[in-house]
Structures are given as C-alpha cells and as structure tokens.
C-alpha cells in the first residue's frame, strides 16, 4: 500500500514540475493567441531553440542561470523575425509562423552542431537544479521549488508588464487593431513586440525543460503549440467562472491540469509513442468542451 502511495506522490510531483515548466510555454501562447489574436506556429521551433541554446551554453560552462535570459532573448529574436515576415512582407500570420518554425528546425541543428540530441548529464555541467540555490531546499522538493520560483517570478513580471501602457497596447492590438492606429501607434511594431515576448517566454520554457531533463532533443518542439494552446484553453475554460483569478494564473493552472491528463493517460498503460496522439486527442476534447461552454454562456446572456 505505501508503495502505491509513494508512486502517486512521485507522479504528482513530476506532473507539477513539468506542468509548471510548460506553464511558461502556455504563457507565451497566451500572449500570441489570446492577447494578440495571432495563431503563431513558430513556437514549435522556439521551444527547442531555448533548449538547444541552453544545452550548448551549459556544455561550455556558462552559468545555468544566465542561460535563462539568453534563451529568452534568442526566442524573442526569432519571434521578432516572425513578426517582420508578417508585418513588413505581408505574409499571412499562419504562414509566417510555419516559415519560422521550418527555418528554426535547421537553426536548432546548427546550434547543436548537427546532433539531434545533446546531453548535459555530467555533474560538472551546472544546472539551476544542482546549483547553490538547490542546496538550500530539502533535496526531495528542491527541483519543484526552483521551478516554482522561476514561474512565479516570470508571472509576476508579466502581470506588471500587462499593466503598463505598452502591455495594454498589446491587449488593444489583439482586440481592435484600428484603435492602436487611432492612438497614433504603429500596430505592426506592437505585433512584433508581442511575438517577441511570446516566443521569448516559450524559449524560456525550453531552457528550463532542457535543464530539467538534462537533454536537448530537436524533436521536442513538435506539438508545443498544441500543448501551450490546450493549456490556455483549459485554464480559461475550467476556471472561467473564477473571477478573482488573473488570466495568467488560470493559464498556469491549465498547464498543470493538461499535463496531469497526459500523464494519467500514459499511466493507464499506453506506450510512450502514443504521446502526441494523446496530446492531440486531449486538445480536441478541450476544444469541443470549450465550444459547449462558450455556447452555454451565450445562451445564458
């Protein structure tokens, strides 16, 4: 009996850990999809971009904490380019993302010097989970606490940003682009900025995941958009009546819930290569559920 309990505890801990790491990915999707109203597919490339950059930097002895802002900036640069393709060259939003995602696949391999996976297993290669901060906490929960600190810090900074004039402009741009122009602001620049922020967050998530799993894999990014978007929609749907929670909080909860669902499905005995199928099926379920709830809300009104 204690064995089962132990397994369950271990499982819920790893669900929390990975769910929280994916929460940053979900926050990125929240920015592009929900705030900016831009279906951005470049995230499938920027998530492993964050991982690749991190794996290479750590192997070269760069401080693992420093990898976080560097990954963010790399992702932001990629997002910015997606924005430029869309705004300056007038390519549709969907295609701009697909172009960027495709290009990034090679870019990620270039960064990893051609290898499709890199490992940062050696204890000599510092990870944020093995550093001095990790030593402060009891070893069992140190990973979880470090992830929690990172996610909480990012969330708080993001919430602060959304209250600034610049952040509010992002919100306006997604809801009413004409108003951005009417306020004498270049809506193209706002979109580029939003995409940079979104992909920066996604790459940051990739960076944390790389340090958590001790590895980078070029295929890791496939389905990032679906995972992130599913988390956003779950968070907003399941918790849509909870008025006192901020959207960002709901998205973080959504990510943990979604990851838990995947974990449960896998633990019901499905082999790991069913993963992407489960991801897609769960997302479809959520979309159907979401449409039902939204319909219900409309009929109420």
């Amino acid at each position: 009996m204690p064995n089962i309990l132990n397994t369950a505890l271990n499982m819920s801990q790893s669900v929390l850990e990975q769910g929280l790491i994916y929460a940053l990915l979900a926050l990125g999707l929240y920015v592009s999809y929900s705030v900016l109203n831009f279906p951005d597919l470049s995230v499938d490339g920027t998530f492993p971009l964050g991982s690749a950059v991190t794996a290479v930097l750590i192997a070269r002895g760069v401080n693992p904490w420093l990898c976080l802002p560097i990954s963010f900036l790399c992702g932001a640069a990629a997002g910015m380019i997606t924005g430029v393709i869309h705004v300056k060259f007038r390519v549709t939003n969907l295609l701009s993302g697909i172009l960027m995602m495709t290009a990034l696949y090679s870019v990620n391999l270039i960064i990893s010097n051609g290898s499709s996976s890199l490992f940062i297993m050696s204890p000599a290669m510092g990870k944020i989970f093995t550093g001095r901060l990790a030593g402060v906490f009891p070893p069992v929960v140190s990973k979880l606490l470090i992830i929690l600190i990172c996610v909480a810090a990012v969330k708080l900074l993001f919430d602060l940003f959304m209250k600034t004039k610049c952040g509010m402009m992002l919100m306006v741009c997604g809801a009413n682009e004409q108003m951005v122009k009417s306020l004498s602001v270049d809506s193209g620049k706002i979109k580029m900025l939003g995409l940079a922020l979104a992909n920066g967050l996604v790459a940051l998530s990739g960076c944390l995941m790389c340090q958590y799993k001790y590895s980078f894999n070029v295929g890791d990014g496939t389905g990032s958009m679906v995972i992130g978007l599913a988390s956003v929609i779950i968070g907003m749907t399941v918790l849509h009546k909870v008025k006192f929670l901020k959207n960002t909080t709901k998205v973080i909860f959504g990510s943990v819930i979604y990851y838990a669902c995947i974990k449960i499905a896998l633990n019901l005995g499905l082999p790991p290569h069913f993963l992407k199928l489960i991801i897609a099926a769960l997302f479809l379920l959520m979309l159907i559920f979401n449409n039902k709830i939204l319909k219900g809300v409309k009929e109420d009104a």
Partner: protein
C-alpha cells in the same frame, strides 16, 4: 485647415474592374469649419475620408493639413492630428478594457506608450468630469468593460476618446448610422456640442438628410466623385430636407437609377 489638391484615385488600375473614383478633385476646409457631407453609395465620400486619414493613398495630387503636406504620411502618424469615429461602434474602443483603461490610453495619444503604468488613477476625476455632462451615466461605470456597453454608449466613449487630445481635424464616418433613432439623436447632439465647444475642424458624413441640414456650417453633396452641391452661409441656411431630396432624385434619374 484641410486642403485636398487635384486628387486622382483609381481602384484596380489597368484591370477589368478598374474604377475611377476621383478625377482632379479639390477641396478646402477652413480651420474650425463643420462640414456635413452627403451623397449616394459609390459617390466617393468614403474614398475621400480614407484618403484624408491615410487608409489609402491617392494616385496623384496633394493633401495638406494645417499647411503640412501629409500626402505620403502613414495612417498611424496622421492619427496624431486626426480623430476618426467610425460607423462600426466596435472600432473606437477596446472591448477587453474598462472605460477607465480606454480613456487612460486615449489620454496618452501622441506620446510614448512605454513601461509606465497604463492607468493614472489621479486622472479618474478628470475623466468623470468629461463623461458626466454627456448624461449617459458612464461616469459611474469607470470599471465596466467597454465590450459590455451598448452601441450608443461605446460610440459616445469613442467620441470622447477621439477629442480628448488636441486634434486638427475630426472625421465622423456615418457615426450615427448603426444606432437606433433615439440614440442617434443623442449622439448627434453630443457631437455638435463637442465640436462647437472645442471648435474642431470637422467632416461629418451622414445619410441622415435632416442631420445634414440641421448641423454644421457647410453642406456638400457628392456625386460621381465631385461636389454636386456645396453650400455655405445663407444658401446653406435656406436649404431644407426637401431640396436635398429633389436634388437626389434628379441625380438618380440622370444616372438612370
């Protein structure tokens, strides 16, 4: 002062659906004048508004605002000097933000939207003072999302946001057309009040002939890309809705409608 000089505008040039909308069109609106513009569909009214606002650009000709050549200026740069209220009541406000947030953003127009707080609570009372005289009770709904307001309320909010900053020109693009008759009357009254109080140069396009004759100092009727009628002063004062209808019918018969 607004000046359009020898404007040419052709849609789809060289194609089978080529449409010449404006040919050698000129218009001068002195500072502070309130112009009402009427005209049937396809007469070129909207094209002219879009040219002035920079949504589209002329093939030839020059546009001046306040003595400055703005012909090649992008829409968002012009918006610093031009306020526009649309027929679509959704276009003037951001539905996912409260009245207070919408007003705060409009209050910052022309300045940098950086990393300072978006809402300055100290200005709340000033915003309330702007809204209170309009009599819609919007001043008590500062924390209500703009998206949950009625079309009329949103249009009033859009008007206030448009005229908050000092602008050289106000463009009203059939801004009462999507509203019910009662709200439409309310908005047109408020429009007149705001325009007169601030003395803003204004171009108001409307399909409501009574509004066209009752408000403004000058009336222009467009037909086939030209001013078929351009009345000001006494001639403008003596015109009534029936005169306009007669002229409209006359034009329609001419063009075989």
């Amino acid at each position: 002062m607004l000046k359009l000089e020898n404007i040419y505008k052709t849609y789809n040039p060289g194609l089978i659906n080529e449409t010449k909308v404006l040919e050698d069109f000129s218009l001068t609106v002195p500072k502070g004048q309130f112009v009402t513009v009427i005209g049937s569909n396809g007469s070129g009214k909207t094209t002219i508004l879009n040219l002035i606002c920079g949504t589209i650009f002329p093939n030839r000709g020059k546009i001046y605002l306040g003595g400055k050549d703005i012909t090649a200026m992008t829409e968002y740069r012009r918006a610093k000097h031009i306020g526009r209220v649309f027929q679509d009541t959704q276009k003037g406000t951001s539905p996912n933000m409260t009245i207070l947030e919408n007003l705060s953003l409009a209050d910052n127009k022309g300045r940098f939207y950086g990393l300072t707080p978006g809402v300055n609570r100290k200005r709340t009372n000033y915003y309330k003072e702007l809204l209170a005289p309009l009599g819609l009770g919007l001043e008590d709904k500062m924390n209500v999302l703009a998206g949950s307001l009625s079309g009329g309320q949103r249009q009033v909010l859009a008007m206030v946001m448009c005229t908050m900053a000092d602008i050289d020109l106000l463009i009203l693009d059939e801004h009462t057309a999507a509203l019910d008759p009662k709200t439409s009357e309310l908005i047109i009254e408020l429009t007149n009040k705001i325009v007169r109080e601030k003395g803003i140069t204004t171009l108001m396009v409307t399909h409501n002939l009574r509004h066209a004759v009752s408000y403004g100092d000058r009336l222009i009727m467009f037909h086939r890309g030209a001013a078929e009628m351009d009345l000001s002063g006494e001639a403008r004062a003596n015109v009534d809705v029936d005169d306009l209808l007669d002229r409209f019918n006359h034009i329609s018969i001419e063009s075989g409608n």
